[in-house]
């Protein structure tokens, strides 16, 4: 079994606070892995590092064998890289201008400006292809959240973060954004590709809504959905990007036992039917012990235990972290 995600020696400091310290973590393909720990243990911080929201202070994360997240290396070289093509064009333009041909000089100036603009836009928007290209020059920039989604990671948030004023359907369609190929030019011209894709994506969105149990509620504005449905919609939205790895941050928080049981079944189905790998942060031990293959326990930013649910349950360090030291 190969590893979907492989984190080595991840450390994150916020000023003086060490939120995550030297955590090694692997997620085998097709497994359900849980991350547990008392409040403030650094679970969500670790999650956000994986999702590309925070850069780690040290350590690196490989996703599908490709190094995606680490500290930036040789980032100072990047601006030079942006400026090289326009600078070359500028020199050519200067060379032409000595010959006195005004039309060519004018064209040279226009092209120089456009190249400068182009490298500026590429530099700030950093598409994945550009990031892979600059690695050849030894420059490494950590992937951003949207790059991680393109690479195959989907996530939900601890506090629901739906697009509250958009319909459930639109929420799922936004989740599909990175898998749709229509560009803004396609949209402007309303090309056949645009119309076809719009149609198929709506069919797919309906399927996803059905999968999570929101069939026929596509037209409801997200914030008008009941709490449990909002949680499920968030999962549907994360699934829309066809992820290989799904990060769920406390998916059953605030749910009643019945809803929790339903959601647990859904997570199980996601693995068996869609072949997903799931990383779960959860406080509800019945959920964690019920569906996890492996459990990792964090406390004060450090990994204190790792193993099957049974092993972890009996681990004295884990018991101590949750219940405190027994009186001597």
């Amino acid at each position: 079994m190969t590893d979907v995600l492989n984190a080595t020696k991840i450390t994150k400091r916020f000023g003086g606070l060490v939120a995550v310290h030297d955590v090694d973590f692997t997620i085998p393909e097709g497994s359900i892995v849980s991350l547990i720990g008392p409040n403030g243990a650094g679970k969500t911080t670790f999650f956000n590092i994986i999702a590309g929201i925070y850069d780690p202070t040290a350590g690196s994360i490989d996703f599908h064998g490709e190094n995606m997240i680490a500290r930036a290396r040789r980032a100072w070289l990047e601006p030079f890289l942006w400026l090289t093509p326009p600078a070359i064009l500028l020199l050519i333009t200067l060379a032409i201008s000595t010959s006195g041909n005004q039309v060519l000089t004018g064209l040279g100036i226009v092209f120089t400006i456009l190249t400068l603009l182009g490298s500026m836009v590429t530099g700030v928007s950093r598409p994945l292809a550009y990031q892979r290209a600059i690695r050849r020059f030894g420059i490494f920039r950590s992937a951003r959240p949207n790059d991680m989604v393109v690479a195959g990671l989907g996530r939900t948030f601890q506090n629901i973060r739906l697009f509250a004023n958009m319909t459930a359907m639109d929420n799922v369609l936004v989740g599909m954004h990175s898998r749709l190929k229509t560009t803004w030019i396609d949209a402007l011209l309303s090309t056949p590709r645009d119309r076809r894709e719009e149609k198929t994506s709506r069919v797919r969105a309906n399927e996803l809504l059905t999968l999570v149990g929101l069939k026929g509620r596509g037209d409801v504005v997200a914030k008008n959905l009941p709490y449990g449905d909002q949680r499920r919609l968030e999962i549907a939205r994360a699934l829309a990007s066809d992820p290989k790895l799904l990060l769920l941050d406390e998916p059953t928080a605030g749910m009643n036992p019945n809803e929790t049981a339903n959601l647990t079944r859904l997570i199980g189905r996601l693995r068996s039917e869609l072949g997903l790998t799931v990383l779960l942060i959860e406080h509800d031990m019945r959920v964690v012990m019920g569906i996890s293959d492996r459990v990792t326990v964090l406390d004060h930013g450090e990994r204190i235990a790792e193993g099957t649910p049974d092993e972890v349950r009996r681990d004295p360090k884990v018991i101590e972290a949750y219940l405190g030291t027994p009186p001597a």
Binding site: L117, S125, R126, N146, F157, H177
Partner: protein, 405 residues
Amino acid sequence: MKQLRARWTAFRSRSHTFAEHHRSATIVITMLIAAILLIFLPRIPPLNAIQGANPWYDAFANAGVFVLLAMGLNVVVGLAGLLDLGYAAFFAIGAYTYAYSNSPFSGLDLPFFPMLLVGAAVAAVFGIALGAPTLRLRGDYLAIMTLGFGEIVPIVFVNSDPYTRGTNGIGGIYRPEALPFFGEFSPLTSFNYMVVMIFIVTVAMMLLYRLHDSRIGRAWMAIREDELAAAANGINTVLTKLLAFALGATTSGLAGVFNASKLTIVSPDQFSFSVSFTVLAMVIVGGMGNIWGVAAGAFIVYLIQVVLLKQLNTIAETINLPALDLGPIHFDLAKINFTDYQYLLFGIALVLMMLKRPEGLFPSQARRAELHAAEDLGANDPALVGALGEAPGSDELTGGSEGGS
């Protein structure tokens, strides 16, 4: 009567379905109807009693400029949620581009219609050049930055005297070449300008609606709702915001070219902050995020500003109330120039608007839902409205989405 109402509801629902499935066709049909109304209404009472047909056409064409500006700003502010207070800068850039290409000052005389696109493209270039380094800013910071840009551009035009003739501006811009069927653009009639404007607005509205309904439009709205969640769903937020910014600039540049050609002069004072502010107010009054609403709002606000206030002057003169003389206070209705008070009236209108109908005259569904959440839930407690307005999880992460950059 009941039957009639039922039939009307059925017709409305059917036309709604039609409009949703055939957006472009609906826009063309509606704009055709609007064009016919705009051409014939000024010739019949009561409009012809106010002023002649030509001044009406002139006002409509000028209103069209603001409709374009408002539709462009709506993409930036209403859809992508980026507050832009220096929108007039791109208007100025479009206008000066045309002035350079088509006046005795530069000695060039390039055709009008291709220049519409060139002016728009130049404005887009400036939009990208401004947006690329600054769009990672958020909220207030972005607003201040755009405000600065909006001030810098006219000042640059004032101070680079040898290239722009400073405060005098570039005058004597040539009229566009004659249209087939409609004939020459003459200084005496604005009819042609109005026809061209209606055409431009129709095309612009069609294209903007297509973007609005596409993956790009959804991405803009997602960024407006929650930027971090948008990034976590695979949207390249920087690129998407940049596209909105560039498109806004493009529309503004287009309006600038048209305006320069119509006025035949460009000068820096045409592009002051009051233009940016007026357009922003039009977007808010029209109903942020709704393209139709914003266009209609801009049209109405402009006509009130330019036609109605002038009319109030004449009305006040004709009814001729006796002047009130109370010692130090001398009040004579006939002597009041209402156009002087346009910004006062504007301010009052905006305040009333925010109190009574914050979603605008013609709101989009989402905006309406957002601002009336409490009423929908049957709550009348203002405290609850505040609680509902709070973004879920806004405290979880602050400003981390660009953490990698």
